[in-house]
């Protein structure tokens, strides 16, 4: 049970993110939801990287135990960088939308329907 705790947190974070994306009516809150989703996924990747009875992959003078591949950490870093870029892009688009529409309510940002 205690081993699966990180994954429980991951599930909760992702579900909260999806809730915010699907049900919130404000663009900023939707973007917060996307951010939460990203955090959940990052946490998921990091949690996957943990292996019992293994050591960090530092070679000099290490005890002869199994080493953990540091791939997931690299993945998470990349994913965080991409997340920053996405967040900046999304927020600047919301800024532009707010400048022209004077609102960030999804029910009113609908000039494109039809």
């Amino acid at each position: 049970m205690i081993d699966n705790l990180p994954f429980l947190v991951v599930a909760i974070t992702i579900l909260l993110g999806l809730y915010a994306i699907l049900l919130r009516k404000d663009l900023i809150k939707m973007i917060m939801g996307i951010s939460l989703l990203e955090s959940g996924v990052n946490l998921f990747l990091i949690a996957l990287g943990y292996r019992w009875d293994s050591i960090a992959p530092i070679f000099t003078g290490a005890p002869s135990l199994a080493m953990v591949m540091p791939t997931v950490q690299a993945l998470t870093l990349t994913s965080i960088v991409i997340g920053v870029a996405t967040l900046a892009l999304l927020l600047s688009m919301v800024m532009i939308i707010y400048r022209y529409y004077r609102t960030t309510d999804v029910r009113e940002v609908t000039k494109l329907q039809g």
Binding site: I21, L89, M93, V94, I96, I97, Y100, K111, L112
Partner: protein, 522 residues
């Protein structure tokens, strides 16, 4: 020279990236310097893409490992038998997609050099165009799931920024936001799938995962996640709502390349179904899911397209509908190949038709979007009710539009007919109802484009477009290249199929060959 040739797959990414990062610097030296630079860079990368593709078609799969001493077609010994390193795997299927991206990529840059003349902020625009091209090349060429995610995000971020480039009183920003949000959610779903696979197989390499695939419960979840994310990105029907918005609001040259970017996602979808889960998933079930998505996309896309007033929005819905054809072809291929009562040739024929349609669609839909861009460039509107009588002054544009429209409707001497015929023939043997639906959709497409053609080009000259001019020469050249290819592929379909599509189809089916090519017979 040898070094250069060995490094072609790496240069495929390196050249557009270097070009993108140097563009802001060179645009300080003036517009013409920047335009020349961008053209040289895209020209070089397209040449690179074509050279890689021709080498692959000659010599077989290329495996390019980043950061090793020498080129070797198997995994370098210092990574302990497991490809931890980043690798590019280019087999004939990838080569096929690379050719599409190379042709369309060059044409859209040539086009946008002159179509963007009036607008501001061009250095950012061209930087993003080159990033988008690099992202699509990367998506196509990579042999690594996580790398695919990275390139997917690069291309969707650049694409979203380009969709929102013409802010257009916030409307384009709205479309861009939709595209960016959707792509991010799709990317995250994909990443969860990658995580699930990594947790079980300790690798990110597609060939290694395909080799070790056990099809546990988690794998099926990962498959569903991949499928959803990629179907979302390629604009199949239940998740198609971003397509008309972003295709309509993006500058036309970008729309033409967004089509290619969607098709790169489509390629990845096929790669996941055929190679990553090759021989493990139930082909009949997945095949039928793809077929149903395809039928829905075809039908809903075309019915939504008919009432549209905005010409680019109309074409965007047609893009959804044409994506349906590709899905139908490949889905029938997947289902028929597994079936015992049908002969293998039907499945292969359907697969070839679906793949050939990808290439044809990229060409004629790119051509159509570019002609729509010319209309917008010269007349300032995309509303069909306000346009009319343009055929008197814009003869070449009219001819190009006609070629594109006839090709999309599947009229004989053009390439759309060739691939659609292959899809009809094989689908009819698989399930006649599907073929009938496909033909009906084709007729509706023709009807819709006849309407567009009539309301844009026919009729008397309208007073407000009395002295409208023909498109500038670079735009005409760009459209001309695509139009010539559309006609050529229509006249000589068998040669194209034999040279490009058939190797791609057999490479897609042969997942064992893909694994062997990467793991070196291990």
């Amino acid at each position: 020279m040898d070094i250069l040739f060995d490094n072609l797959p790496g240069l495929l990414i390196a050249i557009p990236l270097l070009g993108a990062f140097l563009t802001p610097l060179l645009s300080r030296a003036g517009d013409s310097v920047r335009n020349t630079w961008v053209l040289i860079i895209t020209g070089l990368s397209s040449v690179c893409g074509l050279l890689v593709a021709s080498r692959v078609l000659e010599t077989g799969t290329i495996v390019y490992t980043f950061g090793v001493n020498t080129v070797s077609n198997i995994i370098p010994p210092d990574s302990g038998g497991i490809p931890i390193r980043i690798i590019f795997t280019i087999d004939p299927m990838n080569a096929f997609m690379l050719i599409i991206a190379a042709i369309v990529g060059f044409c859209i840059t040539l086009y946008s050099v002159s179509s963007m003349e009036k607008l501001s902020g061009k250095d950012g625009f061209f930087t993003l165009v080159l990033l988008l091209i690099a992202g699509v090349y990367g998506m196509i060429a990579t042999g690594d799931l996580f790398n695919f995610f990275v390139f997917l995000e690069i291309s969707s971020l650049a694409g979203a920024a380009l969709v929102a480039y013409r802010i257009d009183k916030g409307v384009a920003a709205e479309a861009g936001l939709k595209y960016a949000a959707l792509s991010t959610i799709g990317g995250m779903l994909f990443l969860v799938g990658v995580g699930l696979l990594f947790a079980q197989y300790n690798s990110l390499n597609m060939a290694v995962i395909a080799d070790r695939m056990q099809l546990t419960g988690l794998d099926i979840i990962a498959f569903v996640l991949f499928f959803t994310a990629l179907a979302m990105k390629c604009g199949a029907v239940p998740m198609h709502f971003w397509t008309p918005d972003s295709y309509a609001m993006a500058p036309s040259a970008i729309t033409a390349f967004l089509v290619v970017s969607s098709q790169a996602s489509l390629y990845a979808l096929f790669r996941v179904c055929f190679t990553l889960y090759g021989g493990q998933i139930n082909p009949l079930t997945v095949g039928w899911v793809i077929i149903i998505l395809g039928i829905l996309s075809m039908f809903i896309g075309v019915t939504m397209a008919i009432p549209q007033k905005d010409v680019k929005r109309l074409m965007a819905y047609h893009a959804v509908s044409q994506t349906g054809y590709m899905l139908l072809g490949v889905g029938v291929g997947l289902a028929a190949l597994s079936s015992t009562c049908l002969s293998q040739s039907i499945g292969i024929m359907a697969l070839k038709g679906g793949l050939f349609h990808i290439m044809n669609h990229a060409l004629y839909k790119g051509l159509l979007f570019l002609t729509a861009g010319v209309i917008f460039y010269r007349c300032g509107t995309r509303n069909l009710n306000q346009l009319g009588g343009l055929g008197h002054n814009m003869k070449w544009t009219m001819v190009f539009f006609m070629i594109g429209a006839l090709a999309i409707a599947g009229i004989p001497p053009f390439n759309g007919f060739a691939s659609k015929l292959m899809i009809y023939e094989s689908t009819f043997l698989f399930n006649p109802l599907l073929a009938v639906i496909a033909m009906v959709v084709s007729i509706l497409t023709l009807a819709s484009f006849v309407k567009v053609f009539h309301s844009m080009f026919m009729g008397p000259k309208l007073p407000e477009y009395e002295d409208v001019k023909e498109a500038p020469t670079p735009m005409l050249i760009a459209m001309g290249i695509l139009a010539i290819l559309v006609v050529l592929f229509g006249i000589f379909p068998q040669q194209v199929v034999d040279a490009l599509v058939a190797p791609a189809a057999s490479a897609l089916i042969d997942y064992q060959g893909y694994i062997t090519a990467v793991l070196g017979g291990a």
